[in-house]
């Protein structure tokens, strides 16, 4: 495998423009002769399917949901970034580019990030034209707010439901193309394999989740926009059906998987409260603007917070980072919460929580001001926990939120399998080792609306794609393998449920490959994962049949992939003996306990190549070069 990022020549600010000009085009009347499959209808998938159909391609679009509008993207709250500089506070394409490269701790590809910043403004124009009700000022112009990791206000938002509104916009664009016949939509269809013929991605095998029927679909190119793999941890802020399956299965067919160990942990989530818990709920990061974070100074202090006097409290972020205080970036806020809880100073029934206290802010500003700023969040917290945050501090704890790793793609967003593309959270490309808030929505839409329609042409116009039909032996083989796997899952007849196994795996990963990792813990996980996997295939119980709507079977099929994927994730974490962004290797820290990057040895993208299940994968390195943004150590003291 040779990694060629295909970064265009020329100065950074000219690369994308030149690249578009140099790309080969497909004549408009020839476009309808090409079939493109798009998997996923989140921001990345829906925008890609709609745009490719607008261009004249025949698009088949798939989602496992009952409606394209349900994709996980719908849950995003905070907002979407763009370098419009409406507030006149010094923003520019270059600054957005700069912040993103630095925020990602210098582990992303500069050229991709620059293009992302360039596309950001077009996204806002397009979404406004779609009728997305972004927040407005009284003068009628678009409103902005600030968000973590940036010193300018560049975030556009639609209440706390930005993801929902952007997704409904992309879904509308998709519906428009369904109506015009450009897109054939396949809902409740899970893609369970990608078919590769003569080294090119040529189609998929999908399973109708209502009837269980397996079907083959042939195409000239396949676009995956299947989201992130955070659910490998079991508990996360992701929607319940998010999974790694499509990405994992193409990895097994030869697509390189990049930086699988990069996971973003969000600092302000409602903590785990019981064994039955299925999901973690995010509380917006904006709460840290006014909330003060603390734990008791003494270990095992179980008094109610109001009875703990001021001088027996440890406002640990303010103490350790006097200039940033409670507003340190996500990775620092998360890691420090873990440290105090590990010391035995965590609060709440499980000891795995810290206080986020608004008492000072309420005294200073009055309850009304706090209510106006955070009322909906307080209500959401109250609904879930039954506690009133106006009266008593919130309890929060970090949770798995976003995965920066994903399928390796070149500048065209093509994986190492020709004709196979990966968009949105499913690829690795723009966020390095740490994603800044409000930039995932931006990337999903940039990839789908603006990048893929300009890069896929070149492939289709310049590549010889032989005629193929679904009778091809590769289709037959892929379908047979898929069927055998489903049958096997149903035939184990063991004693444990899928969730039971998923929880065991997730727990191990959280402890050993979560907020902090070390060699010993990672090696231990590497020993344990194959054992859990073996147990899974021996003792799983999946009731029901394969020719019916069977949610346990769907889940088992996805968890089976997590069982394999987890191992690669841990291997990657073990290999990367530096700390960067969301990846904190305990062996690599400064004297003050801060993350220590090692640019000399690790300034690369780790791209893994599959060799067979019982063989070691091969690590390829794409060296990262920084022409525009100087490599510097981050400091928040």
């Amino acid at each position: 495998m040779k990694l060629d990022a295909k970064i265009p020549e020329g100065p950074m600010a000219e690369k994308w423009k030149n690249h578009k000009f140099n790309a080969k085009l497909v004549n408009p009347s020839n476009r309808r002769k090409y079939n493109v499959i798009v998997v996923g209808t989140g921001l990345a998938g829906a925008s890609a399917a709609a745009t490719l159909a607008e261009q004249g391609y025949n698009v088949d679009c798939f989602t496992y949901s009952d409606s394209p509008r349900r994709a996980h993207s719908i849950a995003a709250q905070g907002g979407i970034n763009a370098a419009k500089n409406y507030p006149n506070d010094g923003d520019s394409v270059h600054r957005l580019f700069y912040d993103t490269v630095k925020g990602g701790d210098f582990r992303s590809r500069e050229a991709n990030v620059h293009r992302l910043a360039e596309c950001s403004n077009l996204i806002i124009d397009h979404c406004v034209a779609q009728g997305i009700p972004f927040a407005r000022e009284y003068g009628g112009y678009l409103a902005n707010r600030s968000f973590g990791g940036a010193q300018v206000s560049r975030t556009f938002y639609a209440r706390g439901q930005t993801g929902q509104q952007l997704l409904i916009g992309a879904y509308g664009a998709l519906c428009k193309e369904i109506k015009s016949g450009g897109v054939k939509m396949h809902t409740r269809c899970e893609v369970i394999d990608v078919v590769v013929i003569d080294g090119q991605a040529r189609g998929i095998i999908s399973r109708n989740l209502v009837t269980g029927e397996l079907t083959r679909h042939v195409a000239d190119a396949v676009v995956l926009a299947t989201g992130g793999y955070g659910n490998v941890f079991f508990l996360s802020t992701n929607a319940m059906n998010c999974n790694a399956s499509a990405a994992w299965r193409v990895y097994k067919k030869g697509a390189a998987f990049a930086n699988p160990c990069f996971t973003q942990i969000h600092p302000t989530c409602i903590p785990v409260h019981g064994e039955y818990q299925s999901k973690l709920t995010l509380m917006s990061e904006s709460l840290r603007n006014d909330g003060r974070i603390w734990v008791p100074k003494k270990k095992g202090d179980t008094r109610p917070p109001a009875q703990i006097p001021e001088d027996e409290r440890d406002y640990y972020l303010e103490r350790k980072y006097p200039s940033f205080g409670n507003l340190v970036p996500r990775d620092l806020a998360s890691r420090n919460a873990k440290v105090v809880c590990d010391e035995g100073r965590g609060v709440g029934p499980t000891g795995q929580a810290v206080y986020l206290d608004f008492a000072d802010a309420i005294n200073r500003l009055g309850k009304e001001v706090i209510e106006a700023r955070y009322g909906n969040l307080f209500e959401m917290y109250n609904r879930i926990t039954d506690d009133d945050p106006y009266e008593t501090p919130m309890m929060i704890y970090p949770a798995v939120h976003y995965t920066m790793g994903g399928l390796w793609v070149d500048y065209n967003l093509m994986t190492t399998i020709p004709g196979l593309y990966a968009l949105g959270e499913c690829n690795f490309s723009d966020h390095g080792a740490n994603r800044l808030g409000a930039s995932a929505l931006m990337q999903g839409l940039a990839d789908g609306y603006f990048v893929i329609p300009n890069t896929i042409n070149d492939y289709l116009a310049s590549t010889k794609i032989e005629k193929a039909t679904t009778d091809h032996e590769e289709f037959v083989k892929a379908e047979t393998v898929a069927k055998e796997k489903l049958d096997k899952l149903l035939s184990i007849n063991g004693k444990r449920t899928v969730d039971d196994f998923h929880k065991e795996l997730g727990h191990l990963l959280w402890n050993n490959c979560g907020m902090a990792r070390n060699e010993k813990g990672l090696k231990e996980a590497l020993e344990k994962i194959p054992k859990i996997r073996e147990e899974f295939w021996k003792d799983l119980n999946v009731p029901g049949s394969a020719d019916d709507l069977n949610q346990a079977l769907e889940k088992a099929n996805r968890v089976a992939d997590f069982m394999e994927f987890a191992e690669l994730m841990v291997k990657d974490a073990l290999e990367r003996k530096e700390s960067c962004g969301g990846h904190f290797r305990e062996e690599s820290q400064t004297e003050e306990g801060e993350a220590k990057r090692d640019d000399e040895n690790f300034c690369y993208v780790a791209a893994w190549e599959f060799q067979g299940l019982d063989k070691e994968p091969v690590l390829h390195k794409e060296p990262l070069e920084f022409e525009e943004v100087k490599l510097t150590q981050r400091s928040y003291k």
Binding site: E54, Q130, G131, P133, G140, Q161, G172, A239, D548
Partner: protein, 250 residues
């Protein structure tokens, strides 16, 4: 403070091609901090271990935003709490020993697929008829060229909050999709971007609604009571005005 309760569930079970029936299950030692769906997870785990097929129900975000979840709990869509989806309903609102009847959303236009899962694709079909602004990517003018009054943007956003859950349809004695459709029609009627297609949109969406077997609106307003997002019946009035103004002509 959390405690544990026991419940009796009468659950509608229905497989492909079968007539449905109620089955009774015990939900034991349910933590009152758990959500309704987490309670069902616990019950399903026990059923699975006993070799019984788990209760099929739909869910994804579990944050009250995707619109997947929903069932009738004692006859109420999403249970009886105001402005709450089933995934955001917590077990502390139930009593120890209570009996709960669980059924799928009932409406002619929502066929049952299995147990608590119904087919709501009719809602997508209504949107496909014109619930969008037909703009091609890359064609838009600079976003700030059209100022929009804050009040209009806010009102459009109020309407846009619909999560497409279908509770309005299931709670309506006529199975009407009027609240859902009116929310989308209103969002675009309130914004300048929606104006060029205004007449075409309302006509096409309403006629699709009829074609798919959604009932007529007879102003029962059960929809607004059931709606987890508080979509206002004012939107229905706005749809009616739009329809009268634009639907009959053009």
């Amino acid at each position: 403070m959390s405690k544990q309760i026991n419940l009796t569930l009468k659950v509608w079970r229905q497989s492909k091609g079968e007539a449905g029936r109620f089955e009774t299950y015990e939900a034991k030692n349910i933590d009152t901090d758990a959500s309704f769906l987490e309670m069902l997870d616990v019950v399903n785990d026990e059923l699975t271990v006993k070799g019984v097929e788990p209760i099929a129900f739909e869910h994804d975000c579990r944050e009250g935003i995707c619109g997947c979840c929903g069932a009738l709990v004692n006859g109420k869509t999403h249970g009886s709490h105001d402005r709450t989806t089933l995934c955001q309903l917590h077990m502390r609102h139930f009593e120890d020993g209570q009996e709960l009847v669980l059924e799928p959303f009932r409406a002619d236009a929502f066929p049952v697929l299995k147990d608590l899962i119904v087919d709501r694709s009719g809602l997508d079909e209504i949107i496909t008829e014109g619930g969008y602004v037909a703009v091609k990517t890359g064609n838009a003018p600079e976003a700030s060229t059209t100022p929009i009054k804050k009040e209009f943007a806010e009102a459009a956003m109020d309407a846009a909050e619909c999560i497409g859950c279908g509770a309005c349809v299931a709670s309506c004695p006529n199975g009407s999709a009027m609240l859902f459709t009116s929310a989308k029609v209103s969002q675009y009627a309130l914004l300048p971007q929606g104006h060029p297609e205004r007449a075409k949109r309302v006509k096409a969406m309403v006629s699709k609604m009829d074609e798919l077997g959604f009932g007529n609106c007879s102003n029962e307003y059960e929809c607004a009571v059931a709606c987890p997002k508080g979509i206002d019946v004012k939107n229905i009035a706005r749809l009616n005005r739009e329809f009268i103004k634009h639907g009959f002509k053009s």
